[in-house]
């Protein structure tokens, strides 16, 4: 029998309630804010001794001094004399705890007077209701970290049913920037999810949007971990290794040959794929790039017309000088030119109900897209995309948009999420659950500001995603500035170290002052967790992710410098056929324009053939070298008369 840690106390002024109680402890007790305790009642209720589990939310310490002045007087105003006082004043450590659980649950009564004990590992499981989902026959626990108290470590589990759905879903993490807590926590949790997600619940993959820096660029590279971290991995049953199956996707730079990612080191290119879309893919999401001021109902109608009637089909019209088959932005530009020229020639202001001004406006806006999203949107119509329909269980797909323009980021996010949703609805994605990780939610789903397409999509995932298996893991610095419905729908919330100003916002009023103070001083590797099964927030420690930190990765695998076209082509082709040489590439592309080379390269990348060199070479049309033609002796049709008077 362990010794009690404290005793429950209550007075008329500060009585205990069913949801809160007070207890005092010895001065040297290992209790702190966040400690989980168990109260054993003294009197049985309905034949059962009540047990109450609580988490410490506030602490007080005071002495029997009625006024600080008495202490001043007692030391003759000299603080240095305090050390010589033969007796230390009586001091009390009084704690307030919020109730986590009553056992038995009914009748729900105020917390009884009784002895207080530090919660054991079994107590922690009961207190957090983990016993309901850690059953041997139906274990849906996903380790989130270790609860540490009094020299004891207890594994804390989230319920997969409430993290990935369908009961509840989504996770949101808040914390100040610069401590790597948010990214680290998500990387750790994804590893934990992949290790513990029950096979019976299906398969799971993750799509991570890398929106800043190299944070997520080295998920497949190992980290140097300390022994304490390795021990935590072992305790929590998660492999201490980088993700085995990670695929990167990044748009090109404006040169259309170098990948626009910080993971461009040649050593790491094997699993980096270009992310390029053609006209068809972009037009589906024109709304993302064209705001309401740009696109009124009339323009919308024309864009719909182009999508339905022009794109990817032979199109003829009496106004047009020729038949068009529009597959790329270049084709579309040609179509617009022909159409506007024809209208001018015929003196028409309208074409099929569309006014010439609307046509010019839409032409302008759409043409702009290929410029604004250079590197992502190809002019030649070639597409290199995520493996829709072919997603793999426990794989991570990182879409690196950190270096992309804002418009391109929005477009990528909107399209990827829409496609995920579309495939999950049809159940043909390849996996049954997808975790989408989005950082900087302050930017993508702000509480105020314009109602953007991206925000609408995030709201849609947050509110309906769990039914599809589409789960949002989101992060931001200021939770208070994110749309309420996005964070409100997150069943699980994690909090790293918080900014004082943020903690002063009304959203944190439910936390005690001590808990807020603890949040403001959390160190790396510590989190406060809220989860539907936990009636109060719980503090846990989690290990450093077993993947290389972005900063370390950038030192070990520096970003490749911009290279000439031939070198860029070689890098891309070598991913499929490493034996290719620069001389060979130069020989193949020497006679062709850059545009032709890129078209050939994109076609090769899109098909990813085994013999990439041969395929690439086959994409070029035959060009015959120039050579002087031999002089040919020509015979006059009729001989001139010798006496021709007009002959010269």
């Amino acid at each position: 029998m362990t010794a009690p840690l404290g005793l429950v106390v209550a007075t008329e002024r500060t009585p205990n309630t069913p949801h809160q109680f007070q207890f005092w402890t010895a001065i040297d007790s290992p209790v702190g804010i966040g400690t989980i305790v168990r109260v054993d009642g003294r009197q049985p209720v309905d034949g059962h001794i009540p047990h109450v589990y609580g988490v410490v939310t506030e602490g007080f310490s005071y002495t029997d001094l009625a006024s600080p002045l008495f202490d001043v007087l007692g030391h003759d105003g000299d603080p240095g004399q305090a050390a010589f006082a033969p007796t230390e004043r009586a001091e009390v450590r009084l704690y307030v705890a919020a109730v986590l659980r009553h056992v038995p649950e009914e009748p729900l009564q105020p917390v009884p007077m009784g002895e207080v004990f530090l919660a054991t590992e079994a107590d922690v499981a009961i207190a957090l209701r983990m016993d309901s989902y850690l059953r041997e026959d139906a274990n849906t626990g996903i380790p989130i970290g270790l609860y540490r108290s009094g020299g004891m470590d207890s594994a804390i589990y989230l319920d997969a049913e409430f993290l990935v759905g369908p009961e509840a879903a989504h996770l949101n993490i808040t914390g100040v920037s610069g401590l790597a807590t948010k990214t680290s926590a998500v990387e750790w949790l994804m590893a934990s999810l992949f290790a513990h997600f029950p096979k019976s619940k299906g398969s799971v993959a993750a799509v991570c949007f890398n929106v800043k820096g190299p944070d997520l660029c080295f998920l497949d590279q190992p980290a140097e971990l300390e022994e304490s971290d390795r021990a935590m991995y072992e305790t929590l049953g998660v492999p201490c290794a980088p993700f085995p199956d990670v695929r990167y996707f990044a748009p090109f730079k404006a040169d259309n040959v170098s990948l626009n990612t910080l993971r461009s080191n040649e050593e790491l290119l094997a699993n980096v794929q270009p992310l390029t879309w053609g006209l068809r893919e972009v037009l589906q999401f024109a709304e993302v790039l064209l705001n309401r001021d740009d696109v009124d109902a009339k323009a919308d109608a024309l864009i719909d017309f182009i999508k339905e009637r022009v794109l990817d089909r032979d199109f003829e019209d009496r106004v047009l000088k020729q038949k068009h088959r529009v597959r790329s932005f270049a084709d579309l530009e040609g179509w617009f030119k022909d159409l506007l020229s024809g209208m001018e020639d015929q003196g028409n202001e309208h074409w099929r109900t569309h006014h010439v001004a609307t046509i010019r406006k839409v032409r302008n806006r759409l043409s702009n897209i290929s410029t604004r999203c250079a590197g992502l949107v190809t002019n030649d119509g070639h597409t290199s995309d995520l493996p829709w329909g072919d997603f793999t269980d426990r794989a991570v797909y990182v879409v690196d948009v950190a270096l992309a323009e804002e418009d391109a980021q929005d477009l990528i996010f909107a399209r990827v999420v829409s496609k995920l949703r579309e495939h999950l609805e049809r159940r043909d994605l390849g996996v049954t659950h997808v975790v989408v990780f989005v950082d900087e939610l302050n930017k993508y789903a702000p509480a105020d500001g314009p109602d953007t397409y991206v925000r609408k999509m995030l709201l849609d995932i947050a509110e309906r995603g769990r039914y599809l298996g589409l789960v949002l893991f989101s992060a931001q610095q200021f939770r208070s500035q994110v749309h309420r419905r996005v964070v409100g729908n997150a069943g699980t919330a994690l909090y790293g170290r918080m900014d004082g100003d943020e903690l002063a916002t009304p959203g944190y009023a439910v936390l005690s002052a001590a808990t807020r103070t603890k949040l403001a001083t959390l160190s790396k590797g510590q989190l406060m967790v809220r989860h539907p099964h936990f009636t109060q927030p719980i503090f846990v420690s989690f290990p450093r992710p077993a993947v290389m930190r972005g900063r370390d990765g950038m030192e070990r695998f520096p970003q490749a410098a911009d290279v000439p076209l031939d070198v860029g082509v070689l890098r891309q082709l070598r991913r499929f056929e490493p034996s290719l040489t620069l001389a060979w590439v130069q020989d193949v592309i020497g006679l062709y324009e850059d545009e032709d080379v890129l078209r050939a390269l994109h076609a090769t990348l899109a098909h990813a053939p085994e013999k990439a060199g041969a395929y690439f070479k086959a994409q070029f049309r035959k060009i015959v070298g120039a050579a002087p033609a031999p002089a040919v002796a020509r015979t006059p049709l009729r001989a001139l008369p010798d006496d021709d008077p007009y002959a010269i």
Partner: protein, 339 residues
């Protein structure tokens, strides 16, 4: 009744039934006819005005100097006291039989031991709950049957056989005095126990030490008297005592109040009287008798111990200028555990 309850008490349940004034009232109403119980809690009788002994002075025989004088205490204050003993009492009217008051009294005593600057309880505190009734005028048989040893007669006959008249105020005063005697007995028990078991560890006792021969002879016992209704100095000596400066003591005197053992005593000024009355910070110290050559050194040593106890302050107790923190701790402990 000791904190460690006797088997008999536990068996008959009397101890439990007297743990609170309400429990005692319920018991009496059940077992004694015609008892009217008091309502509203009732004020402690200790707060009622009583005819107290008038303040007076007594000339005492010098044990250190022929003429009493002021002596600065040499050396720095040195903490050496290992424990503090004090007792508390509380009496309140429980009810009446006719006009005769029944008083519920609680007395207690405790030793607070200092270990590494922390005060903890030494052994078990002694606590006694009793009912004080004028048995000469009340139904003695019913009361004794109901309360047994927990009953105290407030009309006990004097040596000449007379019994006090049934004046309610007088009976209340006699009850209060009886509670005081019980408290003193408990203090004495603990003091003797300490002196027997811990003879080499100095203990500060709140009040005089002469009521027990054993304690009065123990070198470890230091009595500290805070009230000065009796001043053991007359004439010039009184002026010396009242003019003592901070950190000064008077010459040691020999005192032997009636019915008490002879002890050595001196006055010690703990705090400056600037802006205060002449008794501010003044205590009278008692120690066991000692050989004349050693008296000065011993009185200086004990004075240094007591000066060390000036901090921390015993505030907010109104007697904080004379009270050691350890004594206050003892009182607070008893207040917390007996009320």
């Amino acid at each position: 009744m000791d904190g460690a309850r006797s088997t008999e008490e536990t068996k008959n349940g009397a101890f439990e039934t007297l743990r609170s004034v309400h429990a005692a009232q319920r018991l009496l109403v059940r077992l004694v006819p015609n008892v009217r119980t008091a309502t509203g809690g009732g004020s402690p009788l200790e707060r009622l005005e009583r005819e107290l002994e008038l303040p007076h002075v007594i000339d005492a025989e010098g044990a250190e100097d022929a003429t009493l004088r002021a002596r600065p205490v040499p050396g720095a204050p040195t903490p050496a006291i290992r424990a503090f003993l004090d007792g508390t009492q509380r009496s309140q009217v429980l009810g009446w039989i006719g006009a005769l008051p029944l008083v519920y009294g609680t007395s207690g005593a405790v030793v607070r031991q200092r270990v590494e600057r922390q005060l903890t309880t030494w052994g078990a505190p002694l606590v006694r709950h009793r009912i004080y009734a004028p048995l000469a005028y009340a139904p003695r048989e019913e009361l004794e049957g109901a309360l047994g040893a927990h009953l105290e007669d407030t009309t006990r006959p004097a040596p000449d056989g007379s019994i006090p008249p049934p004046h309610p105020t007088l009976l209340l005063e006699r009850a209060t005095l009886a509670v005081s005697r019980d408290r003193e007995r408990l203090e004495l028990t603990l003091a003797e126990r300490w002196c027997a078991e811990r003879a080499h560890d100095p203990i500060m006792i709140d009040g005089g030490i002469g009521s027990s021969e054993l304690v009065a002879r123990s070198a470890c016992a230091v009595g500290v008297v805070k009230s000065h209704r009796t001043l053991y100095a007359d004439g010039d000596a009184l002026g010396v005592v009242l003019a003592l400066g901070r950190g000064e003591r008077s010459s040691v005197i020999r005192i032997a109040p009636r019915g008490r053992s002879e002890v050595l005593s001196w006055y010690l000024r703990l705090r400056s009287t600037e802006g205060r009355d002449a008794l501010w910070g003044l205590v009278r110290v008692e120690m066991c008798m000692a050989d004349t050559p050693t008296i000065t050194a011993r009185a200086d040593e004990i004075s240094r111990w007591l000066l060390a106890e000036c901090s921390p302050l015993a505030a907010p107790d109104p007697r904080w200028d004379r009270m050691a923190y350890g004594i206050r701790s003892a009182e607070e402990f008893l207040r917390a555990t007996t009320n």
